[in-house]
Every structure is written in structure tokens, then in C-alpha cells.
């Protein structure tokens, strides 16, 4: 019984789990840039708190994604795409430094360096997407 959609294959659970983990840094770090811009424009500290939590959630998801990727590597679920992995690691490092910057109090925890690092993180994520391969954050 051949499928009408020749490429359709069931996506293995392990890959779906990886996608779930990866969603956190993608959403978290993008929204961090948005909330940083909101703080810069409004001086309302709520946005700085949002950024701190978004960074934390993104990092948690990113670390889990990285660990899952390592596990899969060891168990032979997939093979390493080293450029993508290096980019993913770079994103996590920049985001971690950014969370240290955001741990400061008030304006100077966001403007200018927090905002710049948030922008850099998003830029690296876009580069990672353009790399066209499955990257692991």
C-alpha cells in the first residue's frame, strides 16, 4: 500500500522531543529582544523582568536540547552536524552572558549591552536557520 505522499514517514519520537526542547530557546530568545526593546522605549521594569525569565526559560530548554542531542549522538540516533552544533553552543553562551548582564538592576542591565546581546542572539539564531540544517541549540 503505497502512500500518495512519497516522502511521508512517521517522525520518530526522539526527533519530536528534540523539537520541543528547541522551541524554548527560539521563542524565549526572540521574545527577549522584543521585551528589551519594550523596556528601552518605556522604562517600565516589568519588561526587564520578562527578559530575565525568557532568557532563563530559553537557556533551560537549550541545555536540555543540547543534552538530548548528546544522548542521541552516543546512542547513534543521529550524526553530528558540527557547524550547526557549534552555532547552537555559541547561541547558548551569548544568551548566558546576556542573562548575567540582565541580572543587573535597572537601565544599565538592558541598555545598551543587554539589548545588543539579545540582538546578537537573534542574529545567530537566524544564521542557524539559514544554515538550512537541523541545528541543535
Amino acid at each position: 500500500m503505497s502512500s500518495w505522499q512519497p516522502t511521508a514517514q512517521p517522525i520518530p519520537v526522539r526527533s519530536r522531543v528534540a523539537s520541543i526542547f528547541e522551541a524554548f530557546p527560539i521563542a524565549g530568545f526572540s521574545l527577549t529582544l522584543a521585551s528589551d526593546i519594550a523596556y528601552w522605549q518605556t522604562e517600565n521594569l516589568m519588561w526587564q523582568n520578562f527578559s530575565s525569565w525568557l532568557l532563563a526559560c530559553g537557556l533551560a530548554g537549550g541545555v536540555l536540547a543540547g543534552l538530548w542531542w548528546l544522548l542521541g549522538l552516543m546512542l547513534g540516533w543521529w550524526r553530528a552536524n558540527w557547524p550547526a552544533a557549534a552555532l547552537g553552543l555559541a547561541i547558548l553562551i551569548v544568551a548566558f552572558i546576556n542573562s548575567l548582564v540582565h541580572a543587573g538592576d535597572g537601565w544599565t542591565a538592558v541598555v545598551p549591552w543587554g539589548l545588543a546581546l539579545s540582538g546578537l542572539t537573534v542574529g545567530l539564531m537566524l544564521a542557524s536557520a539559514l544554515l538550512g540544517r537541523r541545528s541543535r541549540y
Partner: protein
């Protein structure tokens, strides 16, 4: 800071990056803290981007049997009371009875950022947390009936309070400043228990944040007014300026009606409210802001002028603007007046008492003792001692001198001094919260005052 959320592999890499970025912080390690004491402290440039906060937290180990802090020649020290639970302040009543206020921070400060969770964990170490804790939040009365410097009678006057700190007594009324109100209890001198319920004299800014929760209290020399210190709700207004209403301030309260007003503001965390016995001027010690580097901002002692603004959060030491605070308020910065006497950074000065009229040696005849709880947010400990600043004509007149030391043992803390007072015999008392002890520092020759002088009673003019 999301240390818990990141793997060790990443942490190592980041640590390398951070070390590379932190030469400035290390260069400040040989900074002379003495250059930040006195009326004109050296203020280095603020470090707004310190990625890795400087931390050195002393583990609390307590005092072993017979062990005491060290005092200067001509003084002797003994344990006045032990087995207390977080003693914070001492207050002597006019009959010589000593009240020891024991207190723990109120629970439930909301955690707004990942950083708050980590900060709470660090503070727990610095306060000797862990394990089952004995019930605190009580006031214990100590009576030295024969005035030999040893406590003969001890009773718990009030228990189950809401994080008390300051007390004052006038007209058969004991005023207790809890973390959210000034309570008034009917209390006659000599009573060893209080069963009457209190009335609320005045509400004070309280929870749920109540970041700096210690409310100190002083009675005006004419006995008509009370002064209550209210610390800020944040380090540098990071909880929003709306959380700072009537905070970082000293409130003046009419004892008869409970009506209150802001007497002075811009004082980040004022404690140790004391009237100078010669000039009747109100003095306080203030904990200044953190996270601008290990040598900013120096804590200070200052006289408090009616209506004055001392800078927090917008600036420090007059016009030094804190760029973290937005919206900016150049109008407030222009008003800010510098404090009188810097004590160096992060010493956490919490206790202040004047020596005038005490029975201490002539070297300490006229000046201020200051209790420095000790730092946790710099690489080298600072504070953890009681110092003396000489006064002349009601103003500080010289360099500070270390009087009581030995609270630290290497990287561990045996105790940490908080509130100070002069007991009924004219000796200095030190509340040591981490050591759960009240220490008594007396003249080595055994001198005592002819009669007790209450904390609230102005000392007789210089003898």
C-alpha cells in the same frame, strides 16, 4: 543568573569569557578601604557591567565555650546573654533593665527574577540558615539587679512578634517597631511580662516585598515624637519607584495621635537612630547600594536634617548619579546632600550608639560606636567589627578605630555585630545575631556609672 540551569561544560566556557572581561574587578582588590572612611571618601568609577558578582559569604560557625571577640587594651569583654535567637538590637530602660530584640526577616518576599532566587540562597548562608530553626521574633528582658555586669534575671517579655527591631519607652508605654507597624504596649518599669494587647500607633510601609524590613525607633529628646527608620524596597529601585513610597526614609510620628510624616528621605537603609546627647540632633547609619563594584557605595553615618534628601535611588554622595535608575530625576539629584561621614563599602553598618555618659575609659568619652554586620558582596571581607568614631562639638572629629574585632575566623564567621547600646552600668552592649549572644564591653578597671541611663534619656552634659 541562571547557574542552576546550565551545564558545567557551558559554565567553564563562560567562566573563561567572564575572567577575560573582569580585569577591572581584580585590579580593585588592593583598594585601601580606609580611604573610604571620613567626611570625604574616595569614590571609584562605578562598574555597571560586572558580569560575575563579587561574592564572599562567611559561613556561620558560632562561638565555642569561653570564646569571645577581641577588645582593645583598657577594655574587657564578656558574654552578657547567650542562647538568644538572632538578637538584633539592645535597649536600656531608665531603670537599667535591658531589652534584647530578637528577630528574623519576614517570609514571603516575592521573587520577581531568577536572580532573586539565587540571592535568597546566598543570604541564607550568611545568616546561618539550614536545619530546624528556633523561634525568634521575641523581646527578652535582662536584669542586672546588683549592677555587677552580669545578668541575674531573664524573662521573655513579648513573643510571636512580626519581625521587631526598634523599641522605645515613654510614659508607661513600650513602643515596638515591627516590620509593618509601630505597636504601643502598656508597660511599667520593672514588669517582667506583658499580657496586655497592643494598640497600633502607626502603620509603617510593610510587605509583601519589605526588602529592607528592619524598622528602628528613637524617641525625641522632648519625648513628644518618635522617629522610625524605613529601608528601601530594593537595591536601586529595581522593584519600581512606586514600591518606594514612604521608604528609604525616616518617618516622624506624633506619639499622641500616631500622625506621621516623612522627616528625611533618600536614605537607602537607615538604622541605629540615635539622638546626639549634646546637640539633640538625630543621627543614623545607612547601608548604601550594591552592585556598582566592591568599593561602591560606602555606607555612612550622618546627622539627619529635617526635610533633607540624601540621594537614593537617583544619586549617592550628593550628585553622583546612579545611571541604573530610570526615569531620570535631575531635579532630585540637584537636591541631594552628601552624608557626614563615610564608613567604607559594604560594611553593613546597622548599630549606632553614642558613648557620652558611659563608664568607658576616657579614650571613648565622646563619640559614636558603630556595629558593622559585615560584607558578603565583595571578594574581601569588610566590616564584621565594632568601631569608634570620636566626636567634638557634636560632629565626627577623627578617623575610626577598631574597638571590637574577632568576629571572623578566617573565612568563617563566629558572629556578626548588629545593634549597640549602653547598659545600665555604662558598658557597651553588642547584639550579635549570628552568634546568638549579647556581648558586654566594659572598662577593664571595673568603672560603672553612678546610676542607669536609659537609651532614650539624654545623657547629662559632658562630665
Amino acid at each position: 543568573m541562571t547557574i542552576a540551569l546550565i551545564s558545567k561544560r557551558h559554565l567553564a566556557l563562560v567562566a573563561i569569557c567572564v575572567l577575560a572581561l573582569a580585569p577591572q574587578a581584580f585590579a580593585q582588590d588592593d583598594f585601601d578601604t580606609a580611604s573610604q572612611t571620613g567626611p570625604d571618601p574616595i569614590l571609584p568609577a562605578p562598574d555597571y557591567l560586572s558580569l560575575w558578582p563579587q561574592l564572599k559569604v562567611a559561613e556561620v560557625v558560632g562561638w565555642s565555650e569561653g570564646q569571645t571577640p577581641t577588645v582593645l587594651d583598657g577594655l574587657t569583654i564578656s558574654a552578657y546573654a547567650t542562647g538568644l535567637v538572632n538578637p538584633r538590637t539592645v535597649h536600656t530602660l531608665p531603670n537599667g533593665d535591658v531589652l534584647v530584640v530578637q528577630s528574623r526577616a519576614p517570609e514571603g518576599e516575592p521573587q520577581s527574577r531568577p536572580k532573586d532566587i539565587i540571592r535568597g540562597w546566598i543570604m541564607a548562608i550568611a545568616h546561618g540558615g539550614g536545619g530546624a530553626q528556633k523561634e525568634s521574633n521575641l523581646i527578652t528582658l535582662l536584669r542586672d539587679s546588683d549592677r555587677d555586669g552580669r545578668v541575674d534575671e531573664r524573662s521573655d517579655l513579648l513573643t510571636g512578634l512580626d519581625s521587631p527591631f526598634g523599641v522605645a519607652w515613654a510614659d508607661d508605654t513600650l513602643y515596638v517597631a515591627e516590620s509593618g507597624a509601630v505597636l504601643a504596649y502598656p508597660y511599667s518599669l520593672g514588669q517582667t511580662e506583658i499580657t496586655a494587647s497592643p494598640r497600633i500607633l502607626t502603620e509603617l510601609p510593610g510587605g509583601p516585598i519589605n526588602h529592607h524590613w528592619t524598622k528602628d525607633l528613637a524617641l525625641s529628646p522632648d519625648g513628644r515624637l518618635l522617629y522610625a527608620s524605613v529601608g528601601s524596597n530594593s537595591n536601586a529601585a529595581e522593584n519600581g519607584i512606586e514600591a518606594e513610597k514612604r521608604r528609604a526614609a525616616i518617618l516622624e510620628i506624633d506619639r499622641a495621635t500616631g500622625a506621621s510624616r516623612v522627616f528625611a528621605s533618600g536614605l537607602r537603609n537607615p538604622n541605629g537612630l540615635t539622638f546626639h546627647p549634646e546637640t539633640d540632633t538625630l543621627w543614623t547609619v545607612v547601608n548604601e547600594r550594591d552592585e556598582l563594584g566592591p568599593n561602591l557605595v560606602p555606607d555612612y553615618m550622618t546627622s539627619v536634617q529635617d526635610g533633607a534628601f540624601y540621594g537614593w535611588p537617583y544619586s549617592y554622595y550628593g550628585g553622583h548619579v546612579d545611571r541604573r535608575v530610570r526615569p531620570e530625576r535631575p531635579d532630585m539629584v540637584a537636591q541631594a546632600i552628601p552624608p557626614d561621614y563615610a564608613l567604607s563599602s559594604h560594611v553593613a553598618a546597622l548599630g549606632l550608639t553614642f558613648s557620652n555618659g558611659s563608664a568607658l575609659p576616657a579614650d571613648f568619652a565622646s563619640g559614636a560606636f558603630i556595629g558593622e554586620h559585615g560584607s558578603w558582596n565583595r571578594n574581601h571581607f569588610n566590616g564584621y567589627k565594632v568601631i569608634y568614631v570620636p566626636f567634638e562639638g557634636g560632629r565626627p572629629s577623627g578617623k575610626p578605630q577598631d574597638v571590637v574585632t574577632g568576629f571572623l575566623d578566617g573565612d568563617q564567621a563566629r558572629g556578626r555585630p548588629v545593634g549597640l547600646g549602653i547598659d545600665g552600668t555604662g558598658a557597651l552592649l553588642i547584639a550579635d545575631d549570628a552568634g546568638n549572644t549579647v556581648w558586654r564591653v566594659a572598662a577593664a578597671d571595673g568603672s560603672v556609672t553612678p546610676e542607669p541611663i536609659g537609651t532614650d534619656m539624654p545623657a547629662p552634659a559632658t562630665q
